[in-house]
């Protein structure tokens, strides 16, 4: 059984014939070739698959593609500017080394951008709480939290807060 799913992904209108059981993450990766969105646990725990659907972060491994029919979807590939300039949150993750292996990073960045949209000036506790749906098995989260704080400041256009030495 198949159906037509149409949505706007990273500013482009796309339409594909897929099986109704196709997950949004599979639609993005396998049908659109957008492999920046990762499948980590595949059990709704780890958040490596987080994308934005109509501006809100969701786990694309726990969403059917057809549930996003007609929606506006942003993936990690859609965050940077057209000229390649990184989104402030991406730049902050690079600057503050908010990653080691990098597998969780796309989901972390997408969750962080959604968090800052709702709370432009998050405390460390807000950030840790806001990233509960994202698991990193390398870093211990310390630099991720620093990166999100710096990214939040940068998104506000404020000067990034000074960062304590390790």
């Amino acid at each position: 059984m198949s159906c037509t799913v149409s949505m706007t992904v990273n500013g482009k209108t796309v339409s594909r014939e897929v099986e109704e059981r196709t997950l949004l993450v599979a639609f993005l990766r396998e049908h659109l070739g957008l492999t920046g969105t990762h499948v980590g646990c595949d059990t709704s725990q780890c958040g490596a698959c987080v994308v934005h659907v109509d501006g809100r972060s969701v786990k694309s491994c726990t969403t059917l593609a057809i549930q996003a029919d007609g929606a506006t979807v942003t993936t990690i590939e859609g965050l940077a500017a057209a000229d390649g300039t990184l989104h402030p949150m991406q730049a902050a993750f690079r600057e503050h080394h908010g990653l080691q292996c990098g597998f969780c990073t796309p989901g972390m960045v997408m969750s962080a951008v959604d968090l800052v949209r709702e709370n432009p000036n998050p405390t460390e506790a807000d950030i840790r709480e806001g990233l509960e749906g994202n698991i990193c098995r390398c870093t211990g989260y310390h630099n991720i939290v620093k990166a999100v704080k710096a990214g939040a400041d940068a998104m506000q256009g404020a000067q990034a807060a000074p960062v304590a030495a390790e």
């Binding site: 109704e20 059981r21 997950l23 595949d42 972060s57 726990t62 059917l64 709702e118 509960e132 749906g133």
Partner: protein, 263 residues
């Protein structure tokens, strides 16, 4: 995931007709159902997505409280200025469900229809004198949850909204599983004049009221009034996260915390 047919009706009547299909399932936010399907633990013939039905959505102030549409997502309840003003403890409960991505998808109706013994919302439905309106009738919150993953809903019955009464004071305190964020024990304490309701989730197969706690708090609405009281470990859940004795202990501790938070 096994194959299924997907439908997105735009009215409750259409959904009620579609759910008559053999082995059809209603789809709310999908945060429990989709993981279940991915593990091939269920094989519905049809998924009836309720997201396209306007009459199932929204939060309204009504006489004596709030009415929240079944297809209202946890994040909407958590961030609603109306809920924060009328029943702030309910907004707080919603803000503590799962993680932010789950809250962006999961719905009130989906949560209570699933009746997970560790879910948060059942405690609110019971503590806040909930009234569950379906396409067929209205069910009192006290009668809605009948067992582990069991409710008073008949096959094919669709929840339309839940009405919550506004308490004078209330709070929800939860000892959560740090990985899943489900309640190992959650206690919702609500005071309505001389009446106090104490609803406990996570501890047993289904949400229940702690009668002795209610009587003690009705006489003296202070945490100290619960000193020496216990719901007892008989019939409580025991698993790798907590023994029945530990859960019984947590019920008293969470109830005290809720009373203190209610002020």
């Amino acid at each position: 995931m096994y194959a299924f047919t997907y439908q997105r009706p735009t009215t409750v009547a259409e959904a009620a007709s579609a759910i008559q299909a053999e082995e059809a399932k209603l789809l709310g936010g999908g945060q429990t159902l989709l993981p279940t399907l991915k593990q091939r633990l269920a094989r519905p013939s049809d998924l009836i997505d309720l997201s396209g039905i306007p009459e199932l959505k929204g939060i309204r102030e009504v006489d004596g409280g709030l009415e929240i549409g079944a297809f209202t997502r946890h994040a909407e309840v958590a961030h609603s200025d109306l809920v924060k003003r009328v029943i702030p403890s309910l907004a707080g409960l919603a803000e503590g469900i799962g993680d932010r991505q789950v809250r962006n998808m999961g719905t009130l109706g989906g949560s209570i229809a699933n009746a997970d013994p560790s879910a948060d919302y059942p405690s609110a439905v019971v503590a806040l004198k909930g009234l569950v309106t379906t396409d067929r009738r209205t069910i009192a919150g006290d009668d809605f949850f009948t067992g582990m993953f069991e409710t008073a809903l008949e096959p094919g019955e669709i929840i339309k909204a839940v009405r919550f009464s506004r308490p004078d004071k209330a709070a929800y305190a939860k000892f959560r599983n740090p990985a899943s964020r489900y309640a190992i024990v959650g206690v919702y304490v609500a005071r309505f004049g001389a009446e106090v309701r104490v609803a406990v989730t996570g501890a047993a197969g289904s949400v229940f009221r702690a009668d002795a706690f209610e009587a003690a708090l009705a006489a003296d609405f202070r945490a100290e009034a619960l000193n020496g009281l216990s719901v007892g470990a008989d019939g409580l859940n025991a698993d790798i996260h907590a023994s029945a004795d530990y859960r019984a202990h947590l019920v008293t501790v969470m109830a005290k915390r809720a009373v203190e938070a209610a002020g």
